[in-house]
């Protein structure tokens, strides 16, 4: 599925009525069927067929991913369920090194003969491609872990919740929005379970059970007389969690300066009531005055700016040119890293790459080439200190181990370097969003992801929000309309003047980040606290048609 199609599905917006004909992710299954998983001993035996065949055919390394991908999607509009789809794909991807070159093949026929045949094909492809190779693959050393397992620490498996309960939640959300005056409302719930079994000739047999969830809504209010409409999306985040994310919990909620802010639990009904009420204010809001503003950004918006301006340019494959034809390259070239003094941001700016961040979308025990996951600094005290790597890239940075950033979105896709959770570290001294507002003379306070765009080397970006409030002399004075901030990545992060403390640290996430050709999607979270940036260029995007 192309990125934009998927965004169309998850972002909903105006076209949700067309969703009925959106193709399913794979094979549809009965809801109860999602609850069983394949026995580990059976998976190990199948994996060994591939590993032994690879060795016998002359591969110097091989890994196997036997994975089952379950998706459930529910989409609704007002009182109506538009789509209810359960899908599954199950199969095996085999990657080998032969003659110093990678080869890959995949099969969904999982008898011994078919597995051996696919493995032979992978070796054959490796040998064939080795003729076009410039230099042999250098893999960072990796010890075998033996038989190990990891599971997203969920409390409730979303697939075990009766469909009726999920439909009822969404239709109740819609009813609340309509009651509060919304002209239209769409809501959705996506639940994902990846059952991944990895085995390699290094001696690892890794069984993982990975869960993700994404609730969202869009409420719309139309003013026909003015010929205008406004929308507000949910301030939820897609999470690496089970259905417990949708159980409201007062201990996981913060009272923000304007409305509640959610951490690891989300109250969809409460949020939609606020959303519907905010639409009237959005329709009446005064257009933003273009120019330089101090901007205070809530994690529900800032996560996306981190994703685009920090996450993507620190991907080593982009830096090296492997993504030049589609996603682009990166301004964070190796010479900037080697200099040890490239001033990415102000001194308080610290970014961490992490595959172990609790409740995050990109969090797993082991990556898709059997590397145990951890965390590391990308930007330290404002200086670029590291990138994101996988096993065949580690040597380029002089590292003797991969950072565990390898991922494939399906068994039939070859794994490659994908973004870990990249987070802005919270401030070290006590600081709350209310303090930031109090200390701001002329500012804007933004919540929620909206429009986003960045160039192919990640210099120039433009972002807008779901909600934007104007601050004058330390006080919020009302909503502003049409505000989008436009900046250069390095200048923006150098204008970072204050970061709230750890008590405000929250996650946002991209559920379907696209990369590669053919395109693969991945899910990744970004944590941060509310952050202030000084004198950022803000434009007014308001235009009217004749």
């Amino acid at each position: 599925m192309r990125r934009k199609d998927f965004l169309y599905l998850t972002g909903m917006g105006v076209g949700a009525a067309m969703l009925q004909k959106v193709p399913a992710f794979g094979r549809n299954i009965h809801p109860e069927e999602a609850l069983s998983s394949v026995d580990v001993a059976v998976k190990k035996r199948m994996a060994d067929v591939a590993l032994n065949t690879a060795r016998a055919k002359g591969a110097t390394y091989a890994d196997v991913r036997l994975s089952r991908h379950l998706n459930q999607s529910l989409t609704t509009r007002e009182q109506r369920v538009q789509n209810l789809v359960n899908t599954e794909t199950y199969g095996m991807g085999i990657r080998v090194i032969a003659n110093g070159c990678w080869g890959f093949a995949a099969t969904n026929e999982l008898d011994d003969k078919s597995i051996a045949k696919a493995t032979e094909l992978a070796v054959l492809i490796a040998k064939g491609n080795s003729k076009l190779m410039k230099e042999p693959v250098i893999l960072a050393p990796q010890k075998g872990y033996g038989d190990v397992s990891w599971k997203t620490p969920i409390e409730k498996n979303g697939f075990e919740i009766p469909i009726k309960e999920k439909i009822d939640l969404l239709l109740t959300v819609n009813a609340a929005a309509s009651k509060a005056g919304a002209s239209f409302v769409n809501s959705s719930l996506f639940i994902i379970n990846e059952q991944k079994y990895f085995a390699s000739t290094d001696g690892s047999y890794i069984d993982q059970d990975i869960h993700r969830i994404y609730p969202n809504f869009t409420v719309t209010k139309v003013n026909r007389d003015l010929g205008s409409s406004e929308t507000r999306n949910a301030l939820s985040a897609p999470m690496g969690m089970g259905y417990e994310y949708l159980t409201p919990d007062a201990n996981s909620k913060m009272q923000g300066p304007l409305f509640p802010l959610y951490k690891n639990r989300y109250d969809m009904l409460e949020d939609v009531a606020f959303a519907a009420a905010q639409l009237d204010e959005k329709l009446k809001a005064k257009p933003v005055e273009p120019g330089k503003w101090d901007i205070i950004i809530d994690p529900s918006q800032l996560f996306l700016t981190i994703h685009e301006s920090v996450g993507h340019p620190t991907e080593l494959d982009r830096v090296l040119g492997y993504e030049a034809n589609f996603a682009g390259t990166s301004f964070l070239t190796l010479d900037k890293w080697k200099s040890k003094k490239f001033n990415f941001g102000s001194k308080i700016v610290n970014f961490e790459g992490s595959k172990v961040l609790p409740n995050a979308l990109g969090t797993v025990g082991y990556d898709d080439e059997g590397v145990k996951c951890g965390k590391w600094d990308l930007i330290k005290d404002g200086i670029l200190v590291n990138y994101q790597t996988i096993r065949d890239q580690a040597h380029i940075l002089g590292l003797n181990a991969s950072q565990g950033c390898c991922y494939a979105d399906n068994w039939n896709a070859v794994q490659f370097q994908r973004m870990p959770n990249v987070s802005l570290m919270p401030g070290k001294t006590p600081l709350k969003p209310a303090d930031l507002i109090k200390n701001t003379e002329k500012g804007l306070y933004m919540f929620g992801r909206n429009s986003y765009s960045i160039d192919q080397q990640r210099y120039n970006f433009q972002f807008s929000s779901q909600l934007c409030y104007e601050i004058r002399n330390g006080k919020i004075v009302g909503m502003a309309k049409g505000a989008a901030y436009q900046a250069n990545t390095q200048e923006f992060w150098n204008s970072c003047s204050a970061i709230c403390d750890e008590s405000d640290f929250r996650l946002g996430g991209s559920f379907s980040d696209g990369k590669g050709q053919p395109e693969q999607v991945s899910a990744v979270s970004h944590g941060c606290s509310t952050t202030k940036f000084d004198k950022v260029n803000v434009i007014n995007t308001g235009r009217t048609l004749g």
């Binding site: 109506r80 491609n129 439909i167 026909r224 010929g227 390259t329 429009s451 210099y459 433009q462």
Partner: protein, 443 residues
Amino acid sequence: MAILSKEDAQALLKKVLSYSKADECEISLTGRTGGNIRYALNAVSTAGEMSTLTLSVSSTFGKKTGTATGNEFDDASLERIVRRAEELAQLAPENKEYMPLLGPQTFAEATTWNENTANLTPEKRAELVGKSLEVTKQANLVAAGFLENLVGFTAVMNSKGLFAYNKSANVIFSVTTRTQDGTGSGYAARGFTDVKDLDTYGATRIATQKALSSMAAKAIEPGKYTVILEPVAATYMLENMFRFDARQADEGRSFLSKKGGGTRLGEKLLDEKVTIYSDPFNKDLPAATWDRDGLPLEKTYWIQNGVVKNLSVSRYYAQLKGLKPVPGPSNIIMEGGEQSIEDMIKNTERGVLVSRLWYIRNVDQQSLLLTGLTRDGTYYIENGKIKFPVKNFRFNESPVIMLNNVEALGKPERSISVESYRSYMIPPIKVRDFTFSSLSDAV
């Protein structure tokens, strides 16, 4: 074998339909085969082949519908898929907008199939990439590119007797060429039904010229400029407006909504030089002759001489509003004019030539304001000549406003969107007052 003939597909669907116990049942069978080859840093990085065959069954009791799909084709598996769809239908709430299935329809034969593209081998794909690499090696540039041929068929049958079948073949190619020092970058993208039309050598030569001529770009002030958009740039910009949906317009949340209520149907929305239509029988951009609702597709004007001629109307919405159902666009062809890009440059006193656009996102649904950037060759024009390459710009502009400011149109050509990879027939477009809002350092 993922590509079934019409007869084989019909026989299989008949068998599946015989298992149905639902009030209504619709079955579709989709097969895809294809191969791809990807290269970067002047060497092949990955290559692959895929083949899938999927059966999808939608069963309905009253107004309760469930859908199940599968990829196993023994009799027991086929029956299991039908039972699953029926079980899911019983679990689903009633869909008030469910429309009874259509009976038998007559569809014209499509011209979307091509044997040459269907039979493209891995060796031939590698050879086509080899020709591209030949150019960049000679020019001492760094190339990254992607070539993919996708071949497929879809067959639909329902319990009311409707049967439809279509098969298609497409090939797409794109290449980015960069100078060794990273100060120049060029791009070319092509899409065809017949791979014989694909000239990877020629396309890469154009990308190479763009890379070399875009080095040492100068910064000029952002602002409103007369802009010439090459087809690949115009395609990506306009792709965002090719949804002409009546219901969304009626609901007041579209660029086709009318102030005070209703739609802009019948009104002049764009410059009179603008005509946009769909035509499954276009020889350069053939499309299927039926849509997924089972409605026959015909040549349909969406915009004619700037006037909104038709809006797409779903069967449900048509019944609700007493309208005729109008299927959405199957392909998009925008009519053009006679000017070449060279002519357009010659007639420009002061302007900017844009080769490609990048990362376009919607900023406002009502005005269809879009933001994005230029990329891979942006040039300043003065007194009818290209003067020098310029640094890339971020733009904030609406295609609706843009198509009100048309100065000239060139000859339409088949071009692909650099994000969705869908093909369109779009001319080069010259417009005045295109809004660039800031500069980018990206090359």
